[in-house]
Symmetry: C2
Subunit: 513 residues, 2 copies
């Protein structure tokens, strides 16, 4: 059966279960539930501290089929997931579900756990590297569930997934589990994705390489949620924690797109005092931030907040007084980590506060302008950031769908044609973000506004900017690249793409060998 | 039937229900549950802000028999409870349960709601003034439930009581419900008791008299928990918010007790670097703080944290470097409010983090020394701080039972004889805090150590301090006062005293007219 986005989705998926079909980005409005939790209380005289993961493992009620959760603030420098999974595999447990907020190339060891049947299911908002390749090759027993950052909080808080053990990488902790991410040799800044894990898992374990005296006066997650504190030599590699993503593009085409985007924002009606703004850490997104920064200074605009994964570029805008505060769910670079530690208006927030559709109001709901990327897009403005155009998993929504839904102006920035491939397709490989939540596409060849935004079309009807229809852009691209060939997939569903409300927007099939 | 404290408690209490009998302060250890919550999610485009309580009331699904919650950080200056209840009464609703963290003389209007059947049950950790008198006189339809500060968080989080509507007095809020207590004309400091309300109520309403631009970068309770924000003229009277309780006693007997207490602490084994400490805002308690402060300076002791309701005296100790941080659930005076705003190591915490026995470790569990008061005490060290010795409700546990249970050294400070009345009785009027959690009583006539603390008795066996048995102190008192007469009560149970784990330690009967 086809869903409202025209994607072929069965009503039941083996290893996933019944499908709730996507039915519009606001269809999840109504009565919601937070799940009940069971736990053991900790009374005077009880101790939480363990020296060494193996002795703690001896004590935990581990079992086949359990669900383990991890968060990805240590990014490509994370040691915790591998460290825990090595212990689990050594002990012979099988059929494990991993709920990791994201999975990076550093987690390549998991491929052997997948091949050996130790790990049979994965939940994540973003997967890149060898694990993504293994899933695309059909090696994982059950379909991976690819949710959004806000969706992950929803899944845990609603009880859609019960986590048996949450492992929290804690750059600093005291013996009772008051933890933060801004101090210590493995400082990573905000710990936004770890909040739901700590709140919702049956048993929560903080692993730290920086144990401080009780009480650690600065904590992002507090002692009332932590069962055990384990001291280890190192939770991560500082060089990998801060990955090299946060560089402004030097590509002149990218810079042209950034310049057009900034002009589009300026004329959009949202460029005014109190504007809130989010951009990612990609090269073009950062170039947009640089352009917007100059424009805000020139026009003496004072924004309200910037949100998201925070970079040094956004911190600089805050320091310039262009934003009054920063809402930070994860830090992308050292400047952001330093700012999260030092600036009281640099607020670390949970993923639920950031982007969960099922609470009493996420930060994304208050977002004016967001800049997002795309691997592929169709004429309905549906966006793929999950798979490559030849069908391999290489990313995922992260906060893409969340911010696109929440913001008043969601702008996709992308080269129209890159390496002879057009971003615009008749049918995109995977739908990550539904087009009804995307307002515009800015490319080097022009800007397309979503036809449903009649207000924006009206506003730009006499603009000097190169406003075109998305069909016109697609024709320009195809005149340069020709029609792209359809790619062929196998029959096995290797991943399910869940929208933030838990409905299914798409499925990913295995790659034909 | 008699419980293990020798108190006569039925198995079932009309208007309260089945009784779980107190069975020791650690008997509640084991598997616990946090309740499930239902709520309505708030999506992009939804608005929370209302100007005026009456228009909001028109919109809320109010009903007879509902449960409304309030917190008491505005203390005897609170306008919110009366304001809301006037609207409720005006609209004709009846059989309301009030779950207020504490009730003060300023809430005297509630007496008429009790008399009219608008309010039929009250939950509180502390009740003084006309409402206490009305309850003691048997006017409330159902028995009041007098819990502890930590017990209140437990009651809400476990679902023992479902709150339909929580009303949060918010000294500062933005339009989306990011609220704090440290800014604005009605600043009261920490908002510790309001956390459970915001988390657990079906619908949570923040009332503010200081609406600030979104986002309020400083929040103690965040937007994901608030359904509505209502702007009102004033949430409280600043003169009543800071009540006149925080003065060191000038009474020479009180000062003598303070001096003895400080010496007792110094020799107790707990007086060393890293000591954690809590004292109340009563005159003798503050005098103890002053003595301990001088002793810590003299011996160059650096403590770890001070907790509780925080006063300017404790802030001064923090400023002196005698404590590294402050854990604050409510501020008692302006100095504390100022410090909560300014000092990063002055940490505001939820009542659950402070003192709930049913989470993964409350702050009270890490407390070394606590100084507490008593209206009455018996030879088993059971303490009454709930009723006067003629049987009238005039207080309640607050954090008394919580800190006494959690701390390593719980010291009761009291005049042995005051106005010809002995603090020591054969049978106390009401048991608030079980004697097994109390370690010593310090009076002007000597110090009694709980016989179960054989370690302390051994430590003080050659002490120069006036160590006596509690029976000796009682004899001294009775030689001055004679045996106190037993007071007579009616047959109606007007209040149930719940221990922090939800078991019943005692019941209070109506006063014989």
């Amino acid at each position: 059966m086809k869903n409202i986005l025209g994607r072929d989705i069965p009503d039941y998926i083996e290893g996933y279960g019944e499908v709730r079909h996507y039915n519009g980005y606001l269809a999840g409005k109504g009565e919601k539930f937070k799940r009940a939790f069971k736990f053991k209380n900790i009374l005077p005289g009880d101790d939480k501290l363990h020296r060494g993961l193996d002795t703690l493992m001896d004590k935990l009620p581990l079992k086949d089929g359990m669900v383990l959760s991890f968060h990805h603030h240590l990014r490509n420098g994370d040691y915790v997931l591998n460290m825990v999974m090595d212990e689990i595999a050594k002990r012979g447990y099988r059929d494990i579900t991993i709920a990791a907020s994201s999975i990076f190339p550093c987690h390549k060891d998991m491929v052997k756990h997948i091949e050996n049947g130790v790990v049979t299911q994965i939940y994540a908002a973003y997967i890149s590297g060898p694990v993504a390749e293994a899933i695309s090759a059909g090696k994982l027993a059950k379909p991976a569930v690819m949710h959004t950052h806000g969706g992950r909080a929803r899944i845990m808080e609603s009880g859609d997934l019960n986590v048996d053990f949450a492992f929290i990488a804690a750059p600093t902790s005291d013996e009772y589990g008051n933890i933060n991410g801004v101090d210590g040799k493995s400082a990573c800044g905000a710990l936004g994705y770890a909040h739901s894990d700590a709140q919702c898992a049956d048993i929560t374990i903080a692993l730290t390489d920086n144990l401080v005296e009780y009480p650690n006066p600065r904590f992002e997650i507090d002692q009332t949620l932590i069962d055990y504190v384990v001291v280890v030599d190192a939770i991560g590699d500082p060089n990998g924690i801060v990955s090299g993503t946060t560089q402004i593009t030097k590509n002149p085409i990218g810079l042209k797109i950034a310049s057009l985007t900034s002009k589009f924002i300026k004329d959009s009606g949202y460029f005014k005092d109190g504007m809130s703004f989010q951009t990612g850490a990609g090269g073009i997104s950062l170039a947009v931030a640089a352009e917007v920064r100059e424009q805000m200074k020139k026009d003496e605009i004072c924004g309200s907040f910037a949100s998201g994964g925070i970079t040094g570029y956004i911190v600089d805008m805050y320091k310039d007084g262009l934003f009054k505060s920063l809402f930070d769910v994860q830090c992308f670079d050292l400047e952001a980590i330093k700012s999260a530690k030092e600036n009281p208006e640099h607020i670390t927030m949970s993923a639920s506060m950031y982007a969960n559709s099922d609470n009493k109001g996420a930060v994304v709901n208050k977002l004016d302008v967001v800049i997002l990327g795309a691997t592929e897009m169709d004429a309905n403005f549906n966006v793929n950031v999950t798979t490559t155009s030849d069908g391999k998993i290489m990313g995922g929504s992260g906060g893409h769908s969340d911010t696109s839904a929440g913001s008043k102006l969601s702008i996709i920035v992308s080269q129209l044609v890159n390496s002879r491939i057009s971003v615009l397709k008749d049918k995109i490989t995977t739908v990550t973000t539904p087009g009804e939540t995307v307002d515009a596409l800015v490319t080097e060849k022009g800007i397309a506004i979503n036809p449903k935004r009649t207000d924006l079309i009206e506003r730009f009807k006499d603009s000097n900017l190169p406003i075109k229809t998305i069909e016109e852009l697609q024709q320009i691209a195809e005149s340069m690249t020709g029609k792209p060939k359809d790619i062929e997939f196998g029959d096995k569903i290797v991943a399910v793409v869940e929208y933030r409300d838990g409905t299914v927007v798409d499925v990913i099939k295995d790659m034909k060998q």
